[in-house]
């Protein structure tokens, strides 16, 4: 079973968010990057579990510059067999999906797994777009994936319950919580990652279809006013006359 796992990098959740270039670019100064947790914890780990149970290989793929290599090495340390980096700065979901699908078309995979979204841009678009380019089924937001031969049984959490889907390979899937338990790499994995292939592939031609006009930070949180517990009248007064919500 040949599995491709798409991994994106995302700022660590403790990072301070700021912008440069007249608020059109994310300021990466001092930002720690991690593998997007949905990609790592669910897509990658489930891919590895399927490989361990059924044989095959797991390739991780990232679209990005050379500064992403440490992030990719972590995926190799966790257990991926090899890694591909398509050497371009990602601009938007369509461009990333085009590069990934071109690579997948050439190399042929039984399944392509990605996280349900990245925790920075939260677009949830790339998986569906890859499936569109490849003309393959796309199952989004999956919380369970089991294989029996070439047939996958997949569960999705839906409003008020679950949806169970069966689909034959090849397919594209975006993974959500519940798919697997996060794995921490061990020292041997880290040392083994050193000798695994991280192949850099140049991107194919693609014309950007979108551009960032502006990023805007959310309004700062207002100051917190403390009201003494034995003075409910003051609280009511503030809610009625100052906040004007009652």
């Amino acid at each position: 079973m040949k599995i491709l796992v798409c991994i994106s990098k995302a700022p660590d959740t403790t990072s301070k968010i700021a912008f440069t270039d007249s608020n059109t670019a994310f300021d990466t100064t001092g930002v720690q990057f991690i593998i997007n947790p949905y990609d790592e914890w669910y897509a990658l780990v489930r891919g590895l579990e399927l490989k361990e149970a059924n044989g095959g290989s797991v390739t991780v793929l990232n679209v990005g510059g050379a500064d992403n290599d440490p992030t990719i090495r972590k995926a190799l340390a966790i257990g991926a067999d090899s890694a591909i980096r398509i050497n371009m700065e990602p601009k938007d979901a369509l461009g990333v999906a085009k590069q990934i699908s071109d690579y997948a078309k050439e190399n042929g995979f039984d399944m392509i797994l990605c996280g349900k979204e990245t925790i920075d841009y939260n677009g949830s678009q790339v998986g569906g777009m890859i499936a569109g380019y490849l003309d393959q089924p796309f199952i989004s937001n999956a919380s369970k994936l089991d294989m029996d031969g070439n047939t996958a049984t997949i569960e999705r959490d839906i409003q008020g319950g679950k949806e169970v889907i069966q689909v034959d390979t090849p397919f594209v899937l975006s993974a959500a919580k519940g798919m697997s338990e996060p794995r921490i790499p061990n020292m041997r994995g880290i040392m083994a990652a050193r000798s695994k292939a991280l192949v850099v592939v140049e991107p194919g031609a693609f014309e950007d279809t979108t551009e960032i006009a502006e990023y805007i930070l959310p309004a700062a949180k207002g100051a917190c006013r403390m009201v003494s517990a034995d003075n409910p009248a003051e609280l009511l007064d503030l809610l009625r006359n100052e906040a004007k919500i009652i």
């Binding site: 440490p70 340390a77 921490i184 790499p185």
Partner: protein, 393 residues
């Protein structure tokens, strides 16, 4: 304990000096400590229990014998990686670091360096996997700073050795499966013997009532006419230099480890100082708090630079016993002072288990004494620079 919000200080961008592997190793251990250690360690310390289930996690990470070659079950890492692992373990708790440090440097190190191939194959894989717990017997009730005066001894009985004596202050003694024990032969020369649990006459009474390293088991190793098979003698090094070689490795790990405890105290104090409001502003805005925090980050940064350079020397095989003494002494003292100052910043909150401060502080009172006391390390430096020994008879 409240959720672990630890963020490591790196004031001089020391990360730039580390390789990608170093950082991945450190961050991996840090993540594990946050996930598996921080939620349970305070309770374990309060109850005076070593959370032995963590041994499987330590082993899975490669924390037992990080620098032992992979063919013996180790992780085959360099000395800076070993240091970083110890730093992250001790950020969790000195007891956890002690367990990893004893197993790695005081048990696996002598078996690997002074043992023969059969001994390596018999013991190292099981110690690396955490299936076996090891302990190290050098200190005796009447011989702490002066180990060469030890009275534990063995006699050659032809087909075995007969071991008698007692060791004290032994980390993991009550739970150890094997102990590397230092004893004198009939000529008075010190040799290492591997003593296994179950050998007749070998007992490991526990030391109770500790106010320090509470999440770690401590006890004695007592040998009453223990018959030790001859193949259990470590053949490749003897004399006091043999156990001191192990201590060099362990002290090096301590020099890194205590930075972790100091970072945890600093991080907690910095956060608390910014959140605690008195007189209408955060206490971080007051000069006396800033003095404490500024001195803490300065001392942590100096200690980080010291250990990084020592790690380079160790990787090149050039670190001397005296250089390691200086780092152990300086860094433990630094960490203990930071724990005390951090306790002040936390006010009353500093004495309760919701914050890690008091636990680290009490742990460090052991660390400043074990593996060479604060004063003896000073005299080692003194002897090194003057050529005169102030502690040998």
């Amino acid at each position: 304990m409240a959720s672990d919000r630890f963020q490591a200080p790196d004031y001089y961008h020391l990360d730039d000096l580390l390789t990608e592997e170093h950082k991945l190793i450190r961050d991996t251990v840090r993540e594990w400590v946050k996930k598996d250690v921080s939620p349970i360690i305070e309770d374990a310390a309060q109850k005076g229990e070593y959370p032995i289930h963590l041994n499987k996690g330590i082993a899975a990470l490669g924390g037992f014998g990080p620098y032992i070659p992979t063919e013996y079950g180790g992780a085959g890492l360099d000395q800076i990686s070993y240091g970083l692992i110890m730093q992250e373990f001790e950020r969790g708790d000195s007891g956890l670091r002690s367990a990893a440090s004893v197993q790695s440097s005081l048990v696996m190190y002598p078996i690997y360096n002074y043992g023969n191939e059969a001994q390596r194959m018999k013991y190292l894989p099981k110690l690396a996997s955490g299936d076996w717990v090891g302990s190290f017997g050098l200190t005796e009730p009447d011989h702490g700073s002066n180990p060469s005066g030890m009275i534990t001894n063995y006699k050659d009985m032809g087909d075995h050795y007969l071991l008698n004596g007692a060791k004290m202050w032994i980390t993991n003694s009550p739970i150890c499966d094997v102990a590397v024990v230092w004893a004198k032969n009939e000529e008075g020369r010190i040799h290492g013997l591997v003593v296994e649990r179950g050998m007749e006459g070998f007992t490991t009474p526990e030391t109770h009532g500790k106010w320090s390293l509470r999440a770690s088991r401590t006890g004695e190793l007592v040998f009453d006419n223990v018959k030790v098979p001859k193949e259990n003698l470590l053949p490749n090094k003897s004399g006091l230099g043999a156990p001191l070689g192990c201590l060099d490795s362990a002290r090096y790990g301590i020099a890194w480890g205590v930075i972790g405890a100091a970072m945890d105290c600093y991080d907690s104090a910095l956060r608390y100082a910014q959140e605690r409001i008195q007189f209408g502003k955060p206490i971080a805005a007051f000069q006396l708090t800033q003095k404490k925090l500024a001195e803490m980050i300065t001392e942590i940064t100096k200690a980080q630079l010291l250990t990084y350079r020592l790690g380079q020397l160790k990787n090149e095989g050039r670190a001397t016993t005296q250089q390691i003494s200086m780092a152990k002494r300086n860094n433990v003292d630094m960490a203990l002072n930071i724990a005390r100052e951090a306790r002040q910043i936390h006010g009353g909150m500093g004495i309760i288990g919701e914050y890690p401060i008091m636990r680290h502080m009490m742990n460090l009172e052991s660390v400043i004494t074990y593996e060479g006391t604060h004063d003896i390390h000073l005299l080692i430096t003194g002897m090194d620079v003057t050529g005169h020994s102030a502690f040998k008879g």
